[in-house]
């Protein structure tokens, strides 16, 4: 009985593993094949030709740059505003501290999908369609402030008081004393923001109408119709889109899962 139970559990795990990775393996194999429109799993003659081909087109380099730039700038912005606000809410006393923080957390109820139309109108009225700021500035959410406030609450007051007695300004205390102590949370926030920005689809779809402002997910979506017969190119494009978050995940698995648990906590 024990033995059978064990085998059933192993079987479940095997199925989970197979189902989870099968589409990605298919993607990678197809991206490495050079023959047009063949869907077999014949592994002869794998080449990087498709990757070379897509990176040779000038536009693709631009799309890749857009994705990287938007994601990195988004991370910097989100980390900066979240650390500043998180510090103020955790350690500084000012009238309305709790109330403003509560109001900020309430904004997490509003899903980005239900405000795309008015958000688009705002960006349009600002004259920001097809600009980087339109893609980057709306990225920070109250979740970042929440994560950084939680982390900074854990920094002992004594450490801060000691720095104060030495005559450090608030900003210096944040930069020199607090941030080094909450590095781990900053990394969680950075990863979360990076993956979110990198994978973002609906918002770029709306505000980046010009080709030179498109990001990788949009191009992938367009490539499908453009290169329909050429599965290899489409899959190479998908793989380029897939790999950066995947590599980060393999390196920093625990951070990803911490982020999930934290984002579940806010409710």
């Amino acid at each position: 009985m024990k033995f059978i139970e064990k085998q059933i559990a192993n079987l479940v795990l095997l199925v989970v593993i197979a189902v989870s990775v099968f589409p990605f393996i298919y993607m990678l194999i197809m991206s490495l094949k050079n023959t047009l429109s063949t869907y077999d799993f014949n592994l002869n003659g794998l080449t990087l030709e498709n990757y070379v081909k897509i990176f040779r087109t000038a536009e693709f380099e631009r799309y890749f740059f857009n994705s990287v730039f938007v994601a990195l700038a988004g991370v910097l912005l989100a980390v900066a505003v979240s650390c500043l606000a998180g510090y103020a809410f955790a350690k500084l006393k000012f009238p309305g501290n709790d109330k403003i923080f509560f109001a900020l957390i309430m904004t997490l109820i509003i899903p980005s999908e239900v405000i795309i139309v008015p958000l688009y109108l705002t960006i349009k009225n600002l004259g920001w369609l097809n600009t980087y700021q339109a893609l980057i500035l709306p990225l920070p959410t109250a979740l970042g402030t929440f994560i950084m406030r939680q982390a900074i609450l854990g920094v002992p007051d004594e450490v801060i008081d000691a720095a104060k007695i030495e005559g450090c300004s608030n900003l210096k205390i944040l930069w020199k004393v607090i941030l080094p102590l909450v590095k781990s949370s900053i990394l969680t926030l950075a990863i979360f923001t990076f993956v979110g920005a990198w994978n973002n689809f609906l918002w770029p779809l709306i505000v980046s109408t010009k080709n030179e402002m498109k990001t990788l997910p949009l191009i992938l979506s367009a490539t499908k119709t453009q290169f329909e017969p050429n599965i290899g190119l489409t899959m190479a494009c998908a793989a380029v889109n897939f790999l950066p978050p995947f590599i980060f995940y393999i390196l920093l698995q625990r951070k990803f899962k911490e982020g999930v648990v934290l984002s579940g906590m806010k409710g």
């Binding site: 593993i17 008015p118 958000l119 899962k257």
Partner: protein
């Protein structure tokens, strides 16, 4: 002596006040972002939903027209029904699968197979919906022998999965579950690991078998997580868009057009921004009701313990 004390106090008060003022400086950036992009948007969404607005010409106030039109708009009703159907397809199955898979992974987390499953189950979560949609579309439409045989074994014609209006919606739901199970599994696994062994030992002493331990110890201990998983599942599935855009493009014959998809079409294809905002306000209302229900249940659950 007294005077210098007073002076110090005055100095400290001044210092404190400085400190308070600078706090507002620190929270200004995030508040500005939230007010400009979220606050203004919600206000516009409410106000402009009572107007006829095509973006090019100024909005014209048209009272409740947009809201009454929804009642007779067949496309709206279709999109609403599709959205609710997707939710019904996704939430129960997703919750049960992620729970069962998590129990197995958590109990086997020290074996290499368990570790590997725990790692790879999250890969679909971190990949973009564009990748997920594109790859699954290629697999389902690719006339791959292995895949076609696999589905034929269950009596399913693989090419009809995305080609038929009814099954396309179900296919979208299944791909969405495939993508998100790993997310909910992380929540479940972290909760499972935190259940103290004492409970299981006590149940064992009482002679409870594996199955009854699951129902009388594990399941009740996981109740807060299950509430979270169900409600997150509801709100996420109500907003389904990216996967649909990449898998079916809303078709065939509006078969997979959900509310967010309809809003997108209304505003960016037909230029009916006022009506689009009225429709997305209805979606927002649905989500708000869900969130309020969740808070109520969680509070009730916490007070019971």
């Amino acid at each position: 002596m007294q005077a210098s004390f007073l002076r110090i106090e005055v100095l400290m008060n001044k210092k404190k006040r400085n400190c308070q003022l600078s706090a507002y400086g620190y929270i200004t950036p995030i508040l500005l972002i939230m007010i400009v992009f979220l606050g203004v948007s919600v206000l516009m969404s409410v106000v402009l939903s009572f107007t006829k607005y095509n973006i090019l010409t100024p909005p014209q106030f048209n009272e409740l027209d947009n809201y009454t039109r929804m009642l007779t708009d067949k496309k709206f009703v279709k999109a609403l029904m599709n959205t609710l159907k997707v939710m019904v397809y996704i939430v129960p199955l997703q919750t049960v699968i992620s729970l069962l898979v998590s129990v197995v992974i958590a109990s086997k987390r020290n074996t290499w197979l368990g570790k590997l499953a725990n790692i790879v189950i999250f890969i679909p979560v971190l990949s973009s919906n564009a990748v997920v949609g594109t790859v699954w579309k290629a697999i389902l439409n690719g006339h791959i022998e292995v895949v076609e045989k696999f589905f034929a074994f269950f009596g399913i014609n693989c090419s009809m999965l995305l080609g038929d209006a009814d099954s396309a919606l179900l296919t979208v739901a299944m791909v969405s579950i495939w993508k998100n199970v790993g997310y909910y599994a992380v929540l479940y696994i972290s909760a499972l690991i935190n259940i103290s062994d004492h409970y299981y030992e006590a149940a064992k002493v009482d002679g409870a078998g594996r199955i009854s331990r699951f129902f009388y110890v594990t399941l009740p201990m996981l109740k807060p997580t299950t509430i979270l998983v169900v409600f997150l599942g509801v709100t996420t599935s109500l907003q389904c868009f990216d996967i649909i855009y990449n898998l079916t493009g809303g078709g065939p014959a509006m078969g997979t057009t959900t509310l967010v998809f309809y809003v997108y079409d209304l505003c960016f294809k037909s230029g009916r921004a006022g009506y689009a905002m009225a429709v997305s306000n209805m979606l927002f209302l649905l989500i708000l009701i869900t969130v309020v229900a969740q808070r109520k249940m969680m509070r009730k659950d916490a007070s019971e313990i």
